[in-house]
């Protein structure tokens, strides 16, 4: 291997290890109940991290903090090295956090295109600050093109209720990726999917993680082991396991992690 290519590989490895998201000493109290205790977490670029744990382990609390729904009692969140303070879910989205929800966060009465851009509608360039005119034409053509590029040929003007659960979930995942997020949170994204659709989704996510680092929040350890590079186990608000599983077979990884539940 030439000197140049070695240097290039080392730079690539360094870039791969660049931290996309860091949670520092996150503590959360609900009244007197401690939901999270000193959680420290890092997500590197190009990585998919599985956040697993039983009900009440603190997964939802951590996700709510990352989405800007609630604030931590103490601790810091850093995105690409910068400390961030999410004032609201909208603010978190503006700062590069996108989320795919268990129930797809879909409004059935709206069209596919309107759901695709829900909360992040494309505004016409010449729109004034008060009356924000949406660019319907661009929203329809962009969502249509983006969905068909990913293999979903949908008439984006149709109400989304006319489509299957798989197609709706595809819309909710692809809309999150459309905006080039810095971090993608996947909150139990496979709950409503068939096994076939789940496999298709996993293949798709494996490709997409190179573009956007992801955190998969799931109670299904098998799913996490199949898909993720690293697993973090939360138990009673604390991280009890945090390790890369590369090199381990799925069964071996499963056996190792299950001990920490």
């Amino acid at each position: 291997m030439s000197k140049d290519s070695t240097k290039k590989t080392s730079m690539m490895q360094h870039e791969e290890k660049t931290i996309a998201l860091e949670c520092r000493n996150i503590v959360k109290y609900y009244g007197h109940v401690q939901a999270l205790n000193n959680v420290n977490l890092q997500l590197s670029k190009g990585e998919m991290l599985g956040l697993v744990g039983d009900n009440g382990a603190g997964k939802s609390t951590l996700v709510k903090i990352l989405r800007g729904v609630i604030k931590p009692t103490s601790g810091e969140i850093l995105i690409e090295g910068e400390v961030k303070d999410f004032k609201s879910p909208r603010n978190a989205v503006q700062q590069g956090i996108q989320c795919v929800y268990q129930e797809s966060a879909i409004v059935e009465q709206l069209s596919v295109a309107d759901n695709f851009f829900l909360g992040q509608e494309l505004i016409k360039n010449n729109a004034n600050a008060l009356i924000k005119r949406v660019d319907n034409k661009k929203m329809r053509s962009d969502s249509s093109q983006y969905l068909s590029k990913m293999g979903f040929n949908l008439d984006v003007r149709d109400e989304i209720k006319n489509f299957s659960g798989d197609q709706r979930q595809a819309v909710s995942i692809l809309r999150a990726l459309y905006f080039n997020p810095k971090i993608l949170l996947l909150d139990e994204p496979t709950t409503a999917l068939s096994e076939k659709a789940k496999v298709r989704l996993f293949e798709f996510l494996q490709d997409m993680k190179k573009v956007c680092p992801m955190i998969l929040i799931t109670h299904d350890l098998y799913d996490a082991v199949r898909l993720c590079d690293r697993i973090v186990v939360l138990k009673r608000g604390e991280i009890v396991y945090n390790s890369e599983i590369e090199g381990l077979g799925q069964e071996e990884a499963f056996r190792e992690i299950i001990q920490h539940f």
Partner: protein, 337 residues
């Protein structure tokens, strides 16, 4: 050209979709039926003068219905608009300022205050909007009684009457132009602005909308204010028409204003509505009011006809859900849910 590009290029897709759904078809049939029936019963029905009267009568109803339509789409309801209308009219009549703009400002501001109260208690305190607006309706009616001293108050400002009920372009009443502004404005907001999308999303699935970053509380707050401004404009038109304002002057509007968007396909759970169909709904109800007046029947018949039209339209909508086979099964009572 693939299927998506082809369909995107089809023009008037949404206009066709608005009118030619079951609610639009039922309303068009109802309008046609009423026009035929009343023109057979009264020779004065299809005259230019009567059509002008009919459209002018519709103006206040349509302006109020536009506001209610916004609220129903967002999953809320406002029944205090009758009191807001009366408050604005009485405030305008009582204001002794010589400046017309100042009078309008006071009238609109008094309405906006009620809208803010409705918005605050619905979104911040979490009381259902029906109960909040029921309470404000009763309270504001009390205020109107007190400030008007239980009597009619004459409107002193002629310019105000000209602005809201004078004859403008080739004799068209200003009220009609205000109605057109309200309709076009509502259609523009709902169809072309981000706020319009948020209104539908808030009523369709509030939780999903909130998760996706839509400020649903702010959206609802703003709609209560829009409703109160429209009720205020309606109040100024009503006061300008009779050159006086009095308590209970909006009593007859409660049912038609809520019924018009409901006839048009809006549901109390939110997420649905159409400006074009709401206008058609207003037209149906106004034709009934106008026709009953022309025939010299007692006003009670207006209520009977309106009630029948409403229950008939809602039944067709409810029965139509599903295939034509289910529709027939539902009518003959053999459909299993």
């Amino acid at each position: 050209m693939d299927i998506n590009e082809k369909s995107i290029n089809q023009r008037f897709y949404y206009l066709r979709k608005s009118i030619f759904d079951i609610n639009g078809i039922v309303l068009l049939i109802a309008i046609a039926g009423l026009i035929i029936a009343f023109s057979l019963l009264s020779p004065n029905f299809l005259t230019t003068t009567n059509i002008r009267v009919l459209i002018e009568t519709m103006s206040i109803l349509a302006i109020l219905a536009m506001g209610e339509h916004f609220l129903l789409i967002a999953g809320e309801i406002d029944i205090s608009f009758t009191a807001i209308l009366e408050l604005s009219a009485v405030v305008a009549a009582l204001t002794s300022a010589n400046n017309t703009l100042l009078i309008i400002l006071f009238a609109v501001l008094s309405a906006v205050v009620v809208g803010l109260i409705n918005g605050f208690f619905t979104t911040r305190v979490g009381i259902p909007s029906f109960l909040v607006t029921l309470a404000t309706m009763v309270a504001i009616q009390g205020v109107v009684f007190l400030i008007s001293n239980y009597r009619s108050v004459l409107l002193k400002d002629n310019t105000l009457a000209q602005i809201f009920y004078g004859r403008w372009l080739s004799g068209i009443s200003a009220a009609v132009l205000w109605m057109v502004i309200a309709i076009i404005g509502s259609a523009f907001i709902l169809k072309s602005t981000r706020f319009g999308r948020w209104v539908f999303a808030t009523g369709g699935n509030e939780r999903a909308a909130r998760l996706m970053g839509v400020p649903t509380e702010r959206v609802k707050f703003l709609i209560f204010i829009i409703m109160s401004i429209l009720a205020s404009v309606a109040g100024l038109i009503a006061a300008s028409r009779s050159l006086a304002a009095r308590p209970r002057m909006a009593d007859g509007f409660l049912m038609p204003v809520i019924a018009s968007p409901v006839l048009a396909g809006a549901v109390l759970t939110g997420g649905r509505g159409s400006v074009i169909r709401t206008v058609l709904g207003c037209l149906v109800l106004t034709i009934i009011i106008n026709g009953v007046n022309l025939l010299g029947l007692e006003p009670a018949y207006q209520n009977i006809f309106m009630g029948c039209i409403l229950i008939g339209t809602l039944s067709v909508r409810s029965l139509q859900e599903g295939s034509s086979k289910i529709f027939i099964e539902k009518i003959i009572g053999r459909h299993r849910r």
